[in-house]
């Protein structure tokens, strides 16, 4: 018998509110990571070149790739970080179950991924403005957000989902590490095996290359993310209780 009746929704909402404040440091580290990515991207993230009659033409393309790489790694770390004991024990401040804790964590990772995705996309515009105002080279006009809103929206979605997939991989990996230290060896071995083995390469090609449109990619990434979160929940249910 309890004095107050609390539903799963209410517990999750309270936990999310608490975690939003508690994990603000992670968002600050995201900003630092993005700034590092921006500095590295100042010279462009790719380049193309050709020459005509003694004149060599070089185009430095400034994209989100540099910042995105750092943010994706950051998401992997953050997903992993919130599975550590210190963070998990925060849940015990509430009347909670493992399920509510996991749902709250997933919601927080989704929210952080949206913030990270949108800011990663916008960081490209900060670079554009800095290079156009202070750079010495000419530039080729490129579509902005207003000129191509649908494409911009889809690109933001792709970035958000990719970051969320990285976060879910980190979350699942973190749960496995909490279960057994054997995974400290198995996870890096698995990560190396993906691009090295034929089946791993086939998997990467299926997810990232064999897509007729961006929508296919989004569906695949969302499916992978859901599977990873589900596996993380199942794994966390088998963890030992707090001593």
């Amino acid at each position: 018998m309890f004095l107050s009746k609390s539903s799963l929704g209410k517990v999750v909402r309270a936990q999310v509110r608490f975690k939003m404040t508690a994990y603000m440091g992670a968002v600050l580290s995201l900003i630092v990571v993005q700034l590092v990515g921006l500095i590295i991207s100042l010279n462009g993230t790719g380049s193309m070149g050709t020459s005509i009659d003694n004149i060599s033409i070089q185009v430095n393309i400034v994209t989100h790739d540099g910042v995105f790489m750092f943010v994706a790694i950051w998401a992997l770390f953050v997903g992993n970080l919130i599975t550590t004991k210190a963070y998990r024990y925060d849940d015990f401040s509430f009347v909670t179950t493992r399920l509510s804790g996991n749902i709250a964590n997933i919601i927080i990772l989704c929210m952080v991924s949206v913030f990270a995705g949108v800011t990663t996309f916008l960081s490209n515009y900060l670079l554009r403005v800095v290079l156009l105002l202070f750079g010495s080279s000419s530039y080729l006009k490129s579509p902005g957000i207003l000129e191509n809103p649908l494409s911009s929206y889809l690109n933001v979605m792709v970035i958000i989902i990719l970051i969320l997939t990285a976060a879910s991989a980190g979350y699942f990996g973190g749960m496995l590490l909490q279960k057994s230290k054997v995974f400290m060896v198995l996870i890096p071995a698995f990560i190396i095996a993906i691009p090295v083995t034929k089946s791993g390469q086939a998997f990467l090609a299926y997810v990232f290359m064999e897509n007729e449109s961006m929508l296919f990619l989004l569906v695949k990434l969302v499916s992978i993310t859901i599977i990873l979160f589900a596996l993380a929940i199942v794994t966390s249910n088998r963890l030992e209780v707090r001593a």
């Binding site: 193309m48 004149i55 430095n60 790489m69 900060l126 290079l131 000419s138 530039y139």
Partner: protein, 233 residues
């Protein structure tokens, strides 16, 4: 696994190492900094505001960049180049589009012989045509045309130095411009690492180099020493 695949993984590994070092450094620094919630919120709001402001400012920056052409325009310009090449090849002077005319001149020569030469070992990429006229004077008329030049989807005709054509005595010198490197910035809303699966990269497929054409009108009684292999009619 091929060497190319291993090499393509290198940047990712380097990125991972750099990121690892940065996160390690951040953790150490964070231990010594105690920031309150208000400060944290302030930093996040200022940063987000700055990014939004950059996106707005970019839309309102004065247009000084090179305009990108559409696929439709690309095909139209390509057809113009093809039509010009055909007309030039068939000696249909009246059909040569005057919008491609770069310069025209008339030169009075002293002797009955002149040479078309190019200094250096590399021949300039130029198509030439010499038409004989019945005039008794020693006057050579010349016209230089440059067809559409679009690189990475932008009209770079005014940015790139053209072939130089100048008279030195009885020699018509056709020179390539001095070696030079021109740099541009290009921006993309797409992740280039995924551009294979996303729509084709904005800059990749809209190249059209065009050509330089030189059209000369030479009196029949004159001799032309042609090192560049112009079409002599």
């Amino acid at each position: 696994m091929s060497n190319v695949a291993i090499l393509s993984l290198l940047p990712v590994i380097i990125m991972l190492v750099i990121a690892w070092l940065i996160f390690g450094g951040l953790k150490k620094v964070a231990k010594h900094i105690s920031m309150n919630q208000r400060f944290n919120k302030g930093v996040i709001i200022v940063y987000t505001g700055l990014l939004l402001l950059a996106a707005v400012v970019y839309e309102f920056l004065p247009d000084s960049g090179y305009e990108m052409i559409t696929q439709k325009e690309y095909h139209q310009f390509e057809n113009e180049n093809r039509a010009f090449k055909q007309a030039f090849g068939n000696n249909e002077v009246s059909k040569l589009d005057t919008k491609f005319l770069i310069e025209e001149w008339t030169q009075e020569l002293e002797g009955d012989t002149f040479a078309i030469v190019s200094p250096g070992s590399d021949r300039p990429a130029v198509r030439g045509y010499v038409e004989w006229t019945d005039t008794k004077e020693r006057v050579v008329e010349g016209k230089m045309y440059r067809t559409n030049l679009y690189m990475y989807g932008s009209n770079l005709k005014d940015k790139l130095p053209l072939l130089k054509m100048q008279w030195q005595g009885n020699e018509l010198l056709i020179e390539r411009p001095a070696k030079q490197e021109i740099k541009f910035y290009g921006f993309s809303n797409q992740l280039v690492s995924l551009s294979g699966i996303l729509s084709r990269h904005e800059y990749g497929s809209l190249d059209m180099q065009g050509e330089t054409y030189i059209y000369l009108k030479v009196p029949k009684h004159m001799n032309v020493v042609d090192e560049l292999g112009f079409l002599l009619y």
